[in-house]
Every structure is written in structure tokens, then in C-alpha cells.
């Protein structure tokens, strides 16, 4: 028993030394990004580093949630939001730059357990439909694109809708085109045009150090990566 506390202490001390010892924390950029960018952001961060930029610490979450955190003083160098209106009231460096668009599509679990065949199925009572809640960007975009839908659940984020489809709890759901591109367990039941109303991402620097990253996002390399992941770029 005597050896245990000291070993525990040693482990704790070692953890502190190892994590604190990296010392590069201050050189990294903290980027807050809408959760629908979860799949593309690591690629963007890699390309940014290869172009000679600093490492990126990714903080993903609902845009509203992130904006509220930033408003309360959360430290970040850049913010990519799914709703530019959320930037009101934040202290920003330079103007917001449009990054890409994303489109809402109707998606189903691979294998189509609900037998979904046409847009009419969105309003069929016996199928289970998951959408984003109104008030969050994906929910507002869903309502703008499809009008009122008799959903069985209104999820707080598009990732939650996606997981309903992946787990087979919902027969159909409205998600981003990029989600379908990234998730093998989810497909579109019919060809859907990339039409707006849609979600327009805007990037903004929150510190002088964030300016370079925002400029990088508007550049050719980043735009090509975004296109590859299914986003519409200009």
C-alpha cells in the first residue's frame, strides 16, 4: 500500500511535465468552427501547416453555442460560423470572409429501411423524420428550403440528426450535402439539386494571429479542399 500513493503522485507529476513541457501551446492557433465542418477542418489544418502556418487547435460546436462562448470571452484566433448574423457583437479583426456554401438534402440510412422513394415521403406520418431544431443554422436552413416538416425529433445539431440516421432510429432526415459525402451509412434517396436557401459559412479573425488563417481559407488550396468535401465554393 505504501508504494501506491507515491506512484500515483509520480504519474500525475509526469503528466504535468509532459503536457506542459511541449511548450508549443502558445504558437498554436485556436479555431472555433461550426460542427458541420468536422470532417473538412482537419484537412484544412494540415494544408495550413504544410503551407508554413502554425498548428490549429480545433474547437467544434454549434455556431450559436460557439458564438455565445466567444461573447463570454472564450479565447480563440478565428471563427468559422454557419451563420454570419452571429458575428454581431463579437470583437473581430478585419471583415468576415465568405468561405463556402452547404446545401440541405434529404438523406436516408443506407439500405433504405423505411422504403423512402419521393419527396412526398417527407410528410408521410408512418415514417420517422429527424431534422435540426429551429434557431440553429441547419434548422433554419432546413425550414427555408423545405418549409414546415412534421418531424419526430428536432435535434440541437446536424451531427445529432446524422447519428439518428446512422443508428437507424430515423427513416429519413435533413442534413448537409457534405454529411452524406462523408458518411458511408447515409445516402440520398433521389438526386437533389444543390439549391439555396442554404447555409453560407463565413470566417473571421478574432486576433491578429488569426488573420493569416482566414486569408488561407479564401485561397485556392483551401477552396479546393472544401470542394473535395462537397461544399460549394465561389
Amino acid at each position: 500500500m505504501t508504494g501506491r500513493p507515491s506512484r500515483l503522485f509520480l504519474a500525475m507529476a509526469l503528466t504535468v511535465v509532459l503536457t506542459g513541457g511541449c511548450g508549443s501551446n502558445d504558437e498554436r492557433l485556436t479555431v472555433f468552427a461550426a460542427s458541420s465542418l468536422a470532417d473538412v477542418l482537419p484537412d484544412l489544418a494540415d494544408a495550413h501547416r504544410q503551407a508554413g502556418g502554425p498548428d490549429v487547435v480545433e474547437v467544434l460546436g454549434g455556431s450559436n453555442h460557439l458564438a455565445a462562448q466567444l461573447g463570454d470571452g472564450a479565447p480563440a484566433d478565428a471563427f468559422i460560423t454557419a451563420d454570419a448574423a452571429l458575428l454581431v457583437g463579437l470583437t473581430i479583426v478585419g471583415p468576415p470572409i465568405p468561405v463556402a456554401d452547404n446545401h440541405m438534402v434529404v438523406a436516408i440510412p443506407t439500405g433504405n429501411p423505411g422504403g423512402v422513394t419521393s419527396p412526398d415521403d417527407l410528410r408521410r406520418g408512418d415514417l420517422r423524420l429527424a431534422v435540426c431544431a429551429t434557431g440553429v443554422p441547419c434548422g433554419d436552413a432546413t425550414a427555408a428550403r423545405f418549409g414546415y416538416l412534421p418531424a419526430d425529433t428536432e435535434e440541437p445539431s446536424v451531427r445529432a440528426v446524422l447519428s439518428r440516421l446512422v443508428l437507424g432510429e430515423a427513416d429519413l432526415g435533413v442534413v448537409y450535402a457534405t454529411d452524406v459525402a462523408a458518411e458511408a451509412k447515409v445516402v440520398v434517396p433521389w438526386t437533389q439539386e444543390q439549391a439555396c436557401p442554404c447555409v453560407a459559412y463565413a470566417a473571421v479573425a478574432l486576433s491578429d494571429r488569426g488573420v493569416g488563417f482566414v486569408e488561407f481559407l479564401a485561397g485556392q488550396t483551401a477552396q479546393a479542399i472544401l470542394t473535395y468535401h462537397g461544399f460549394s465554393t465561389r
Binding site: 434557431g135 425529433t153 440541437p156 432510429e169
Partner: protein, 258 residues
């Protein structure tokens, strides 16, 4: 007993730490527009649903939790320690994980859920019944711990005596054990009910979020935080008032043996 000053100071610090967030909530609350905010139909809907879900959960907890507490306290079963650990697990598990686990077990494609669907056409997620299941899952351990604690602390002399006088076990349970257990049952039930009322993570993960069907007060509060912070604060006040109204009259009752 007079308390040493250092102990008093530490206790005061701990109390301030717990009370300060409540004060913070109260001083930011939109007192002037409270009536208007709480008068909205959506708020009344969430409140009624929350009361319904938590009362139903408390009913299930009473019926299933009492036998479980009794077995854990009185019956010598192998692996009781492990059993007890499993029973209290939902108390320490992040509720979101609990909700996901419920999906894997009772969801439409879940271990048991797929058969519920196939045999009875019963699908729990996205239904009020699903919200009751989620609330029961997280709140049941609070009840079991309170009642089991009381059973273990209370001496079983009377029970043994009744047994030697020829009373059958079920009669002993009904006539002697349960009546003496009533205060603990009441306290445990109130605590579990309050926990069920505040349930968020397991509910939104397992049952989803739809006004009138699965959107309880905590879910409505969470979503309002993103869009309408004033309404969210008003909803929080309602939860706070209800919880205090239940917990204050209990006083020391949830301590076993009182």
C-alpha cells in the same frame, strides 16, 4: 457543539461555491418580463410534459425500486457488490452516454428494442414513453440508494421476531418492514423525482426533442439558451422553484436512519 473556525471557514467556502451560481442566475433573471415569458404556450407545454414524465418515472421507480432496494439490503445473493455497483452506475455515468446505451439496448435497432418493435410495434425513441424510460434510468439509483441505506441501518429485530412467531416473509415485509420504511421511501422518491425532472442528457439522446412529446423543461431550456437566453433563464427559474419546493420540506429526511 462549537465548531473549530477553520472547519467553519471551509464549510462556508463550500456552501458559497454551491450557492453562488444560483445567486448568479437570480440576479440575471428577467424579473420584469417573467410573466410574459412564462405565459407562452410553449413554456406551459414543456412544464406540463415535464411534470407528466417525472411523475410517471417516479411511479415506475416506486414499483420497481423498492423490491430492488430490499433485495440488495436483505437477500444474500452472490456478487452483490458488483450488482450494487451496476445499480448506481447511472449516477456517475454521463447521462449522454446513458442515453446512447439506452439506444443500443431499447432503440429501434437495439438489442431488445428491435424485438419490441417486431412483436409489439413498440418504438420507444421519439415518444413520451421514451422520455419516461430515460428519466427512470438516471433517477432510479437515487431512490434505491436511499431506501437500501435505510433498510441496512434500521435493525431487523422486529422482522426476525415476527418470523419466529410464524409470520410468512411477505407478511413481514408488508406489515413490518414497509411501514417502518415509509419516511425513507418518501424521501428517496422525492429525490429521484427531482432528478427525473431535471433530466437532460439521456432524454435528448434517447428520446429526441419534440415540443409536446419529448421536449421536457431542461430540453426547452437548452434550446432556448441558443436562441432566446431570456426565456431560458425564466425556464431555469421554474426548475429552481420546483426543486426547492420539494427539497426544503424534506430537510434531513434523505439521510438514512433519520
Amino acid at each position: 457543539m462549537t465548531a473549530p473556525r477553520t472547519v467553519l471557514a471551509a464549510a462556508g467556502l463550500a456552501f458559497a461555491f454551491l450557492a453562488l451560481p444560483v445567486v448568479g442566475l437570480l440576479q440575471r433573471a428577467p424579473w420584469t418580463s417573467l410573466g410574459e415569458l412564462l405565459g407562452r404556450p410553449a413554456v406551459a407545454e414543456a412544464l406540463m410534459l415535464s411534470l407528466l414524465v417525472s411523475v410517471l418515472a417516479a411511479g415506475v421507480i416506486l414499483v420497481l425500486g423498492t423490491p430492488l432496494a430490499w433485495v440488495l439490503a436483505r437477500v444474500d445473493i452472490p456478487g452483490r457488490r458488483l450488482l450494487r455497483a451496476l445499480v448506481v452506475l447511472p449516477m456517475v455515468l454521463p447521462p449522454v452516454v446513458g442515453g446512447t446505451a439506452l439506444l443500443f439496448a431499447l432503440g429501434r435497432r437495439g438489442l431488445v428494442g428491435q424485438w419490441l418493435d417486431a412483436w409489439f410495434g413498440l418504438i420507444l425513441p421519439f415518444t413520451t414513453a421514451g422520455a419516461v424510460v430515460a428519466a427512470t434510468f438516471v433517477a432510479l439509483p437515487f431512490y434505491v440508494v436511499a431506501v437500501e441505506g435505510a433498510l441496512r441501518l434500521g435493525d431487523d429485530h422486529l422482522e426476525q421476531m415476527a418470523g419466529t412467531l410464524g409470520a410468512r416473509p411477505l407478511t413481514v415485509l408488508r406489515r413490518i418492514t414497509l411501514p417502518r420504511l415509509l419516511p425513507a421511501i418518501g424521501a428517496g422518491l422525492a429525490l429521484a423525482w427531482a432528478r427525473a425532472l431535471g433530466e437532460f442528457g439521456a432524454t435528448i439522446t434517447f428520446a429526441g426533442n419534440l415540443p409536446g412529446r419529448t421536449q421536457t423543461l431542461p430540453l426547452a431550456t437548452f434550446l432556448a439558451l441558443e436562441t432566446d437566453p431570456e426565456a431560458a433563464l425564466a425556464l431555469s427559474l421554474v426548475m429552481l422553484a420546483i426543486s426547492l419546493a420539494v427539497l426544503v420540506p424534506l430537510r434531513d429526511r434523505w439521510l438514512p436512519g433519520r
